[in-house]
Amino acid sequence: MTNIFNYIDRPSPIHRLTGATKLVCLLLWSFAAMATYDTRLLVSLALLSLVLFRVSRIGIRDVSFMLGFTAVFMVLNNLLVFVFSPQHGVELYGSSHVLLRLGGRWIITKEQLFYHLNLVLKYLATIPIVLLFVCTTNPSEFAASLNRIGVKYTIAYSVALALRYIPDIQREYHEISQAQQARGIEMSKKESLVKRLKSASAILIPLILSSMDRIEVISNAMELRGFGKNKKRSWYMARRFTKWDILAMLGSALLLAAAILLNIKNGGRFWNPFI
């Protein structure tokens, strides 16, 4: 319950990088993977992220729970794309090599399969990196890193507050929910949908009204300590950059540059092997 973000503390070079570095790398990396549909680059990103995973000493077992969610999401998304737009690949790549006719407009073409391959690769190129970030970055350091990369400290502090109060609110929700259930509210499938939403509100209202009081208490305490008076603020969890941090950020920047260059060279976001 306390470790919802699955931070795993292990001695590894990736853990030793500062949170700010990892955040910058995550952003650059995900922009690179977002920008390109070049299969060659996506494959290299996916392979590289697996190597990094190895370096971080995080095992597959540590993240299997999160991988499960992602796998379901990925399969569903691919199915939906095919059901809704079986000719999307043909439109994108401008040619049509029919492999199998399923009836109606659902014709499997090489182009469509290639598009799906790219879609899957896009997941494979980003998800390991996100998991790596989540597993190797201490949540407490996360807010400090946000401030480090230029987010205003007041907003970074909001994130810190959110992370700090998630377990509290979760516990409170649980308590209220059990109290209300003892009084007879029903939230399972036996009730109609509108009834279920209404009974959810019977839990939410006390939860949120008490959270409003919490906001008052916390903001009064912060104001009494002079929060927001100065332009800058120091962080307990902040760390200095080392040469590895600089190298990691440069490496990620190069990946993004590669993605942009390939887009220019391919004359678009897609690498077309069919011509």
Binding site: L119, L163, I166, K198, M222, G228
Partner: protein
């Protein structure tokens, strides 16, 4: 009520934490298998109506990004941004609805729901699908249907949960001018 900047910061933090808990752990099974009804947009509309557009925008942004991180599928940027936009748009109502003064009558309910409808339509019918197409190059009809389904579900939950929250909050606040000087 004068709002201090510190209060807004705290409201963003607590709001994002609530958004996270509702979105991640409070799942009401819906008739469609494997689909849960998300209550967090009702909360987001309510918080934005009290603390304004900036708070709404950041609660949506931080809360949704944290949910995506905890599931591990990275940041689904297009939908995170749509959440943030919804929070921002609905926050613009704050000027019209005087929740802090303990007033939330029939007219306000109507106005609140009209605004949430329009904001949801813009966020899920326009921003999310267009970003899906621009960022992920997904087929247009698929993302628009997805946005439509999600949008309708969010409109219904916001209408029920958001309105109930606003009514309950207004009832808990003393009405403006409810105290009279004794003579």
């Amino acid at each position: 009520m004068k709002k201090s900047p510190v209060r807004t910061i705290v409201a963003i933090g607590i709001g994002a934490a609530l958004f996270f808990v509702l979105g991640r752990f409070v799942a009401i099974p819906s008739p469609v298998p494997n689909t849960n009804i998300s209550l967090q947009y009702g909360l987001l509309a309510f918080m934005a109506a009290i603390y304004g557009p900036i708070a709404g925008c950041l609660i949506g942004l931080i809360g949704h990004a944290l949910i995506d991180f905890s599931y591990g599928w990275g940041i689904w940027w297009s939908w995170v941004i749509a959440s943030a936009c919804f929070g921002f748009l609905i926050g613009l109502v704050a000027k019209r609805v005087n929740l802090a003064d303990g007033e939330f009558g029939k007219k306000d309910i109507l106005r609140f729901n009209l605004f949430q409808l329009v904001s949801h339509v813009i966020a899920w019918g326009l921003i999310a699908p267009v970003l899906d197409i621009v960022i992920y190059a997904e087929p247009a009809n698929k993302v628009f249907v997805q946005g439509l389904v999600g949008g309708i579900a969010n409109i219904v939950t916001t209408a029920i949960v958001g309105t109930l929250l606003c009514v309950a909050y207004a009832a808990a606040k003393p009405k403006k001018g409810s105290l009279k000087e004794e003579k």
